[in-house]
Amino acid sequence: MAAKTFPIEAGHIMMFARSIGDPNPVYYDAEAAKKTEAGGVIAPPTFVQSSAQFDPDYFLRPKIGQPWFGSGKNPTGITRAPGGGGGGGGGGGGLHAEQHYEYHRPLRAGDVLTATTFPGKTWEKEGKRSGKLVFSESVTEYRNQDGELVVTARGVGVRTERPVEQPAKKEA
C-alpha cells in the first residue's frame, strides 16, 4: 500500500474503531483521551491498513468510470475475475495470509503519514485445501510528518489454485 499523504483523521479513527467493535474512548473522545496515558486520540493497532483509502491505485476500490469485478446486472462486472476473485494482502488476486506490525511510536489523530511499500520474498507451497499456493510478501513503512518511523507493516498475500475447502463443521 503506497500513499504519499495518509492523514490520520479523528473521524476516520472513530469509524474504524466502530467497525472492529471497539468502544474505547481513546479512539473517539478527545476530552477523555487527554486524561489517558496516550494523552490524546490515538489509532487502534491495525488502523494503518486503512491507508488503502489514500492509495490512488488501490485495486480493491471501485474507480469512477472503470469496470469493477463485483456484481451488478451480472454476477461480475468484467468478463474474467482476477485470480480466484481478488483480494487480501497480495496483488492481483488471492487472500490475506499474514500480517505483522512493529509499533515505533503512537499513531495520533492529526499526524500525516507517508506510506512506502517495498516488495519482499515470494514462495510456493502445496496446500491441502486449495491446491498450489503462491505467497508474496510486502513491507510498508509508515513515517510521520517529521520523517519518524511510526509503524512497520509486513503483509503476506496468497494466491490459491482453487477456492479454499472448508474444514468439517459440526452440524448445529
Partner: protein, 136 residues
C-alpha cells in the same frame, strides 16, 4: 490501565469474546472504514457465483482488528510494540469468535504473548503473537 509486570506470570491466559453472531453489516462497516472493498466480503452474488465460496466472508484484518481490541484492553492504550498474525481459517457471517492471549515471557519491561482466535466450532481462525511495554 497499563499492565504491571509484577502481575503477570508466564502461562497466564487472558480470554475475551470478540464477536457473537458476526453480522454481514459489520463486515460492510469494516470494508467502508478500511477501504478494502473486495466483493468477496460484501457481495454475496459475486462470491457464490463467480469466486465459488459458500458465502461472503470477513476480512482477515477484521479478525485481526477485533483480536487487537482484546490485546489493547489487556495491555493498555499505545502499549503494543509488536503484533503479528497468520490467518488460518476463514471467518463467516454468523460466527462467534473467542480470543486468547497467553503470557510467554516477561523481561526488561516487555511482556510477550501468543495470540489465538477460535470460532464456535473450536477451529483456529487466527494465530499470532504480541509484545507490549509493561510497567515494573
Amino acid at each position: 490501565m497499563p499492565l504491571s509486570a509484577a502481575k503477570l506470570k508466564v502461562g497466564d491466559v487472558h480470554t475475551a469474546r470478540l464477536v457473537e453472531d458476526l453480522k454481514r453489516t459489520q463486515i460492510v462497516q469494516y470494508a467502508g472504514a478500511s477501504g478494502d472493498y473486495n466483493p468477496l466480503h460484501t457481495d454475496e452474488i459475486f462470491t457464490t457465483k463467480v469466486a465459488g465460496y459458500p458465502s461472503v466472508f470477513a476480512h482477515g484484518m477484521l479478525t485481526m482488528g477485533m483480536t487487537g481490541k482484546m490485546l489493547t484492553d489487556l495491555v493498555g492504550d499505545g502499549r503494543l510494540t509488536k503484533y503479528g498474525v497468520r490467518f488460518t481459517s476463514q471467518v463467516w457471517p454468523g460466527d462467534t469468535l473467542d480470543g486468547s492471549a497467553t503470557v510467554t515471557e516477561v523481561a526488561d519491561g516487555i511482556a510477550k504473548f501468543t495470540v489465538s482466535t477460535r470460532n464456535q466450532d473450536g477451529i483456529e481462525v487466527l494465530s499470532g503473537y504480541a509484545e507490549a511495554r509493561v510497567d515494573p
